[in-house]
């Protein structure tokens, strides 16, 4: 149902939280904490790419890692060749978005079913991963950048101030830039979702036939959304590369795609804030579990994924919200809220 952005407390809370962290965080955290939190920020940008297209357009991509990896490699290769990072950062958005548009064209204009879409997006990721793994030889180089196969690309440049290639950002500044990007992205996506474009997306998610019968070009709309999601994932990939100053083919791994799905499911499909919270909690959890060296990381991820699908299909935030609502109106009959459907706010 319709919610006005202006009167939505969740929106203002998340925006304020973003700004507070952006300005005050670096004052209180040590270097290690800043690095850790920057990682969460980058992965949050990544998860928004899926939370947006899945939650607000009903487009399920099993291959966000393909765009994430493409963005990471685009940024690294371009930055190494150009000796500065501003334009490469733009490319990290643009190239995956273009690729996403091309792939989306085949899938949506081919009217592929959900299963087929899932398989195709997943296979695309796999093939990138395979191809890039095979580029170890010196003949695989783009300009000055050797792709390095399974060894990856070492010494990816750190982000510099636009226009001054020597002015590198320190970790605190990098955190602030990334936090600003995340906050801005969240605000822009919320505005987009509340806009007419967003309403049409929601309409398409609800009933494609009706959307077409009202005269909206469903396929073109989906391609645009998918490409936008691809661009955002690519940008996150670029951020990841410069944050780590190193990338290898694992950016294209199936785990990376699966993580986006897990975080989105855990946070709740149909929200943006939920998946961000899920990134922080689950990354922290797997860090702690990993330190214990008992359980394998894949094992944990897979377990969480199965539990989510089988037991919490609505996701964390909506389940929590429904739980609170149920407590509040206990005794009286609940009026609205069809099961499985999630109010498109937060």
């Amino acid at each position: 149902m319709e919610t006005s952005l202006r009167t939505d407390p969740g929106f203002w809370f998340m925006t304020a939280l973003g700004l507070v962290l952006l300005f005050l965080g670096p004052l209180f955290w040590d270097l290690f904490q800043i690095m850790q939190i920057t990682q969460y920020v980058v992965l949050s940008v990544y998860v928004l790419s899926l939370a947006y297209i899945w939650g607000f357009g009903g487009i399920l991509s099993f291959g966000q890692a393909a765009f994430f990896g493409l963005g990471a490699y685009t940024f690294s290769v371009a930055a190494i060749n150009m000796g500065e990072t501003t334009f490469p950062f733009v490319l990290a958005f643009a190239i995956p978005a273009i690729f996403g548009a091309a792939l989306g064209y085949f899938m949506f204009y081919g009217k592929l079913s959900d299963v087929y879409m899932g398989v195709v997006t997943m296979v695309v990721t796999l093939i990138f991963w395979k191809l890039i793994n095979h580029t170890a030889g010196p003949e695989y180089a783009i300009g000055d950048a050797r792709l390095g196969g399974f060894n990856g690309i070492p010494s990816v440049p750190v982000l510099n101030v636009p226009g001054d290639a020597q002015a590198w950002l320190d970790p605190g500044q990098m955190f602030q830039v990334f936090m600003a990007i995340l906050t801005l992205l969240y605000v822009l996506l919320r505005i987009l979702i509340a806009s007419d474009f967003g309403r049409i997306s929601m309409g398409i998610r609800e009933n494609e036939t009706r959307a077409a019968l009202l005269g909206y070009d469903v396929r073109r709309h989906k391609v645009i959304m998918f490409a936008l999601g691809a661009g955002i994932a690519g940008m996150a990939g670029g951020m990841w590369a410069t944050y780590q100053t190193f990338i290898d083919p694992n950016v294209f791994s199936l785990e990376m795609s699966a993580k986006a799905l897990i975080w989105t499911m855990a946070g709740g499909v149909g929200t943006l804030a939920g998946p961000i919270v899920a990134v922080v909690l689950l990354q922290y959890l797997s860090l702690k579990l990993g330190e214990m060296h008992i359980l394998n990381n894949n094992f944990i991820l897979g377990g969480i994924m199965m539990v989510l699908v089988l037991l919490v299909p609505k996701g964390g935030l909506p389940t929590l919200r429904d739980g609170i609502a149920a407590l509040r109106v206990r005794g009286s009959v609940r009026r609205s809220g069809t099961p499985g459907k999630v109010a498109p706010d937060v």
Binding site: V120, N298, I300, M306
Partner: protein
């Protein structure tokens, strides 16, 4: 002349290979319209069982041809009862759940056996054709692919179990009203598909060795074959296998193996743009 035969055999091997890899997946997809995303790990499991039991003294042919399909088949039935059964009609959720299972299995096997490659040597030596050597194992693969397709066809066509399966495939609700327990049919289907995948994994073991994450190397080909084939198990798998096997082998001859998979996907995308339900969605629609 000899070279022509070699090329022909290579293409035939590539086709057979796709057919063997995809057959189990195609059985499950054809019946249940579900893609088992843990397919690669079912292969891996078949491989591990083959090598582990062989190392424990079981003859290779027994571990490959009997133990691997048996154990993976039983495992498939367990998975169907515990997971898939709860997700009928929720196709996306079943994809997500089996993907979770895939990660779980990779992690689990890594914890138990460690992240190392183990192997056995390829049996059957080689044959010479003129100046060229052909591994006998390749011929075995071709034979098995043919036998597999024949067996599925015979079962579907001539046995009462096959009749029940076909009825359920055509119209599950109708079959249910005629007294078919579709839930059992699905369980059996999943078990059978898993067993075939287990056999494929067993056949794979001597070629590539086994490692926990080996599945990723084969799922792309399997998935592409099944979705381009469409919903008919035999006609779909055979037509897609033939088309894609030829393409990938052609590309491999031309540019080396790296681009084979990418060429497969590209061909599949173009094909799906033209035939969104796969080859058998439009052509050979009435076939099995």
């Amino acid at each position: 002349m000899d070279y022509t035969i070699i090329v022909f055999l290579e293409i035939l091997r590539a086709i057979s290979w796709l057919v063997i890899l995809a057959a189990g997946l195609a059985i499950i997809f054809g019946m249940m319209k579900v893609i088992n995303f843990a397919h690669g790990e079912f292969l891996m499991l078949g491989g591990y069982i083959t090598i582990m039991s062989h190392n424990a003294g079981v003859p290779l042919w027994i571990s490959m041809g009997v133990l691997a399909p048996l154990v993976v088949g039983v495992f498939g039935i367990i998975v169907e009862r515990l997971v898939i059964r709860h997700l009928y009609g929720r196709i996306i959720d079943s994809l997500l759940a089996t993907w979770g299972l895939s990660l779980l299995m990779i992690g689990g096997v890594t914890m138990v056996f460690g992240n190392t490659v183990q192997g056995v040597s390829t049996p059957l030596g080689s044959l010479s054709i003129g100046a060229y050597q052909v591994p006998g194992y390749n011929l075995l693969l071709i034979g098995i692919a043919v036998a597999m397709m024949m067996a599925i066809w015979l079962v579907l066509r001539f046995t009462s179990a096959g009749l029940i399966a076909r009825a359920t495939m055509q119209n599950p609700d109708m079959a249910e009203t005629l007294g078919v327990r579709t839930s059992w049919v699905y369980m059996a289907t999943f078990g059978l598909g898993s067993a075939v995948t287990g056999l494929a994994g067993g056949l794979l073991a001597p070629l590539t060795g086994v490692a926990p994450s080996m599945g990723v190397n084969f799922v792309a080909q399997s998935f592409i074959t099944v979705i381009t084939g469409g919903a008919s198990m035999i006609a779909g798998t055979l037509s897609a296998g033939t088309l894609l096997g030829t393409i990938s082998q052609g590309v491999t001859f031309a540019t080396g193996p790296v681009y084979g998979d990418a060429a497969l996907l590209l061909a599949a995308l173009i094909l799906l743009r033209l035939l969104p339900q796969g080859i058998t969605g439009r052509i050979f629609r009435k076939s099995l």
